[in-house]
């Protein structure tokens, strides 16, 4: 089950490598934790998970893998992990020869696969019996066989009969970055944006000031340093406002208005539902104070990066046809305008607050996804990351 544990962690996209695996073995070897299920859970969590966003995935996998192993009647919560086997495996893995063998087997992943298969075979071969016997000699892990008893990790007497296991509580659920951005993680989202905005605040020599100060200092050197100017990225944010966006507006606005101070060149424009020939900067004055989209394309050079924020949820007519807008008569279709933006700015993404799983049910989202050459990302921490990555290309 230990092998499955690793495989499943990796399948669940918790990045674990042989390094962590060996560390866990070492930890068990050194007796860092008591051999209780909880401690084993804590230890493996501390070693295998490096990011709170993965804690929930870890809990799910842990619960899944160690399920069924716990139900030892009368003993409360207990799991059986063949410690002896783990230890031998670890010892073997640690030798140079073994490492070479792993390589020969095609690396870690391959090894895990083989190991899994081998165990399955053994299980079949010895069906019915309680012993799993290794095929000593040829296999790098079979030599020590499989300890049928294992070591009962757990049987934590004090906690007998406890109903909910720690990992089953799923206490880290809201740290998973595939959930939509809400008040809880908006700060983190902001920091991602900030990270994107910042490209290392280096200190550099301030030549003019050094010369001036040195002269004033009667020729004795007086070196002056200045922090390098931050964020060179030029960003153009086009923001859908009103209508179906109302539900998301607070989160979006909070996010991007706060991001504003981080960028030296950041321009912010609003549109409604779809981009047409006019935009506006101040939503309260949207009917008086408009800015023509054509002018926008001429004002901001092509090295600006364009970020659309909108739910892209509307009738497809609003995108595809002249006159499709629900608010006014548009001479040219929204599609035409979006295409112009895409043609002008090489770097462009669309962030969508609608959960990604709903996208395929909304034709307008698919349409805009196409128009943005599949550069639409959900407004989740993960989506934000991908979007920033795209913009940084």
């Amino acid at each position: 089950m230990f092998v499955n544990f690793f495989l499943e962690l990796r399948q669940a996209k918790v990045p674990v490598s042989i390094k962590e695996y060996l560390a866990l073995m070492e930890g068990m070897d050194k007796g860092v934790s008591d051999y209780s299920v909880d401690d084993f859970y804590y230890l493996s969590r501390a070693i295998l998970v490096k990011d709170e966003r993965n804690l929930d995935k870890f809990d799910k996998v842990f619960g899944h893998i160690f399920k069924g192993l716990e139900a030892v009647p009368g003993d409360g919560v207990a799991a059986e992990i063949p410690e002896e086997w783990l230890r031998k495996l670890a010892e073997k893995l640690l030798t140079e020869e073994e490492k070479a063998q792993i390589e020969a087997l095609g690396g870690w992943e391959k090894l895990m696969e083989t190991l899994k298969k081998r165990l399955e075979e053994q299980q079949k071969r010895h069906q019915g019996g309680s012993k799993w016997i290794g095929t000593a000699g040829t296999s790098p892990f079979g030599a020590h066989g499989f300890n049928p008893e294992g070591v009962r990790i757990g049987q934590d007497k004090n906690r007998e009969g406890r109903a909910v296991k720690v990992w089953d509580k799923r206490e880290y659920k809201n740290l998973d970055d595939t959930v939509e951005i809400g008040t809880r993680n908006i700060k983190i989202a902001l920091r991602r944006l900030r990270k994107f905005a910042r490209e290392g605040a280096e200190v550099e020599l301030d030549m003019p000031d050094t010369i001036r100060s040195t002269a004033r200092n009667a020729g004795y050197l007086d070196i002056k340093m200045v922090p390098e100017r931050r964020n060179k990225v030029k960003l153009l944010i086009l923001f859908d406002i009103g209508g179906s966006m109302d539900a998301h507006i607070r989160v979006c606005e909070e996010l991007f208005s706060a991001a504003r101070s981080e960028f030296k060149h950041l321009e912010f424009f609003y549109f409604h539902n779809c981009l047409y020939e006019k935009l506006w900067k101040d939503n309260r004055r949207r009917h008086v104070d408009t800015f023509s989209t054509a002018q926008l394309l001429h004002t901001y050079p092509a090295d600006y990066k364009v970020l659309f924020v909108g739910d892209a949820s509307m009738s497809p007519y609003e995108i595809a046809y002249p006159g499709g807008s629900v608010e006014h008569w548009n001479e040219e279709s929204g599609q035409t305008w979006i295409q112009r933006v895409a043609d002008t700015y090489r770097s462009m993404v669309w962030l969508n607050p609608v959960p990604e799983r709903h996208w395929s049910y909304t034709p307008s989202i698919q349409l805009l996804q196409q128009l943005s050459s599949n550069r639409m990302f959900p407004l989740t921490l993960g989506g934000l990351d991908s979007a920033m990555k795209e913009l940084n290309k």
Binding site: D38, L43, I47, V166, R191, R192
Partner: protein, 282 residues
């Protein structure tokens, strides 16, 4: 050498396991969690429990990895040379030891706290990889190798302002301090104010956890704010009844300034209280 918490610090089981794993396997321990959840204090408590000296390196946005090793003050040397100072002959006079140097050469195995690593530049953690791995570095100017006799217990905190590089994370053990639940919080309060009235604590915790649930707060009050607030409540000799607001017009808890540090949050809170009151009236 096992850390089991102290009489002034409540360490949950999972935290204890993580700390001990980091000590035993000599890996840096990365601690994350909301501000005020005891990350910085933890390093001090571990040092206290193990009777180890603590070396603190507080990171700022301008901190460079090299500063943790040593700094060569070329500018002073240049000045001294112009002034004809004798010290200028020996370059060692201009080498300033950093915190890692201190940690590596400490006579006792120290706890080395790298506090708020996320404040620094994104590359900062990467620049320390080798030194933290090998626990040694080379001083070019004086051609010496500074090598740790005993590996310091390295504890690193982050408030999550920046993503930390993968290569760095792979070398660390990790613990995320979850915000304490009521039970744990009661224990934490107990170590700080053992004489606090039970009723007052119960009511205060009700208010505290309610406030944390208010949507849209810029900064949720955390352990440190709760402790500050409780202290004030005690000083003012507040009665538990004053905190029991469910029935009354009193929807803003007394001395709430200690809990909400941010003006916007106070406004938000007052507005919500106002609206709730109006609803009650209807």
């Amino acid at each position: 050498m096992k850390f089991t918490g102290t009489d002034s610090y409540v360490a949950s089981d999972d935290l204890r396991v993580a700390v001990n794993a980091a000590i035993a396997l000599q890996r840096p321990l990365l601690i994350k969690g909301e501000p005020g959840t005891g990350k910085t204090v933890l390093a001090h408590e571990v040092a206290k429990a193990l009777k180890a000296p603590i070396i603190e390196w507080h990171i700022k946005s301008t901190t460079k990895a090299q500063q943790g090793l040593y700094e060569y003050d070329a500018v002073s040397r240049l000045r001294d040379s112009q002034l004809g100072d004798e010290r200028v002959k020996d370059i060692a006079n201009y080498i300033k030891k950093g915190k890692l140097w201190e940690g590596f050469t400490s006579t006792e195995r120290p706890v080395l706290l790298i506090d708020e690593i996320d404040k620094a530049d994104i590359e900062f953690p990467n620049d320390l990889l080798l030194e933290l791995d090998r626990m040694e570095f080379y001083v070019y100017e004086t051609q010496q190798v500074i090598k740790a006799e005993q590996r310091p217990i390295v504890m690193i905190t982050s408030n999550n302002e920046k993503e930390l590089p993968d290569a760095f994370l792979r070398r660390c053990f990790f613990h995320y301090i979850r915000f304490p639940d009521r039970e744990t919080m009661t224990q934490i309060v107990d170590v700080h104010f053992p004489d606090l009235q039970r009723n007052l604590l119960r009511e205060a915790l009700n208010v505290f956890y309610d406030i944390r649930e208010v949507p849209g707060l810029k900064k949720k009050p955390s352990t440190s704010e709760l402790l500050d607030w409780l202290k004030l409540l005690m000083v003012e000799d507040m009665s538990p009844d004053a905190l029991r607001s469910k029935d009354s017009k009193q929807l803003i808890p007394p001395l709430h300034g200690a809990l909400l540090k941010n003006e916007q949050d106070v406004h938000l809170f007052e507005r919500l209280a106002f609206m709730a009151r109006r609803e009650q009236r209807q």
